[in-house]
Symmetry: C2
């Protein structure tokens, strides 16, 4: 008989932001698979498990490893940071699952970086927003820039995942330049780094400042819409309730 | 001395999907304020608190009530379903806070409907997506339709909040018609209702079927991008890992 395969969003990193649903699924599993860094965060909390880790870019290998464990009859967890369903591995697991008859997949959601980072900045995502990854490892740059421009034109608050890496140092600046075609230099923006982990930081700034901000792969970036404002140290997008009809 | 005001995203509804951070903040509070329906979900789990509830459309009143409690020195929680920072009340609280000197606001994120619903459907939000509310109570219809069209043109997966209400029965159909200018009738779509609560249901369908789907205010809607596929009963948006560079 095949075991369960839970694809688990562990949230930003701390146990305080992992749901009981995720916690209980991890407790129930014999095997926990994931990217090395996330596995290291879990080992102390879930002793006595078999841990399987792979480096960051080996997503397919990681998914197949977890599916094979599950198909062999062991309850297995595949952990993702944030939400397993937002730039996470839930999709790939479901695409590959037919190669592993009997593996029963369940996706357990977690708090994605857009949400956990927003809470630190105040309330940037209160109204319509677009999430865009600037990683061109699996998406063409043409598609990415086109989405950035149309999102700017539509006046979405924009949340950028993977804004930079060692080989993509200038992508955030390019995204900002495209957005500047539609929004002013004083547009309120924010960055968050290392959400829920050691070294966590956040900062509210203007779009002008963001152009030359050196982001890294642990940064999530927020670009406000035309109504987003700075209130003290907070970035706040209104929904218009101050003018609500009584 | 003023008390804390926690603006808390309680997640989709069940205690299993509320983070320990939210749970501990609620335990620490003297007063819990919120929309009647959410308050009723909490009363059994947090006895001995003072509960303050207001009907659904009275957001400003609810925020001011919570801020006043906090300013008077009581630790207070203002609860929102899903994430307090996504179509939630974190923004309005921060806008009004300056009227209540000393109230110390902290936003505690939760799992928003986009994430919790996606987990039930499979993995529709694996890649870039746009979240749009079809409620025109506080946003002009022109802005809403413009965002829907530009999001469709940009090939975002689209997640619709508030797709319908008693007075807006035909808005989802109109959104679908706009999206059909850019995507085929066979585009994979999904709906989720009453996430994490009694009567929870979900269904994968085509965009053609979605046009005539009667959504209600407890429904969240997902419209796939050009690559989203149906795998068994799941809605899955690929990131392209099957073709990853080795």
């Amino acid at each position: 008989m095949a075991g369960k395969l839970y694809v688990i969003g562990m949230g930003p990193g701390s146990m305080e932001q992992m749901t009981p649903q995720a916690y209980h699924a991890l407790r129930e599993c014999d095997v926990i698979a994931g990217y090395t860094v996330y596995i290291d965060l879990l080992k102390d909390h879930f002793p006595g498990k078999e841990y399987l880790s792979t480096p960051m870019t080996r997503e397919e290998e990681r998914c197949r490893m977890a599916l094979a464990q599950s198909a062999s009859g062991r309850n297995t967890a595949l952990v993702c940071s944030g939400d397993a369903g937002v730039y996470g591995m839930a999709g790939l697991v479901l695409e590959l699952a037919s190669d592993y008859p009997g593996a029963e997949v369940e996706v357990i959601p977690g708090i994605t970086a857009a949400s956990s980072g927003a809470a630190l900045l105040g309330a940037p995502l209160i109204h319509d927003f677009a999430a865009i990854s600037l990683s061109d490892r699996l998406t063409s740059l043409d598609t990415i820039w086109r989405r950035v421009e149309l999102a700017a034109e539509a006046d979405f608050v924009i949340c950028l995942y993977n804004p930079a890496s060692r080989s993509r140092k200038d992508y955030l600046a390019e995204a900002c330049r495209l957005i500047l075609k539609y929004r002013g230099e004083d547009t309120v923006c924010g960055i968050v780094r290392q959400i829920g982990r050691e070294g966590q930081e956040h900062k509210v700034m203007t779009l002008r400042e963001l152009v030359s901000w050196q982001a890294d792969m642990f940064t999530t970036v927020y670009i406000g819409n035309s109504e987003t404002k700075r209130i003290g140290d907070y970035m706040v997008t209104p929904r218009g309730y101050r003018h609500e009809r009584k």
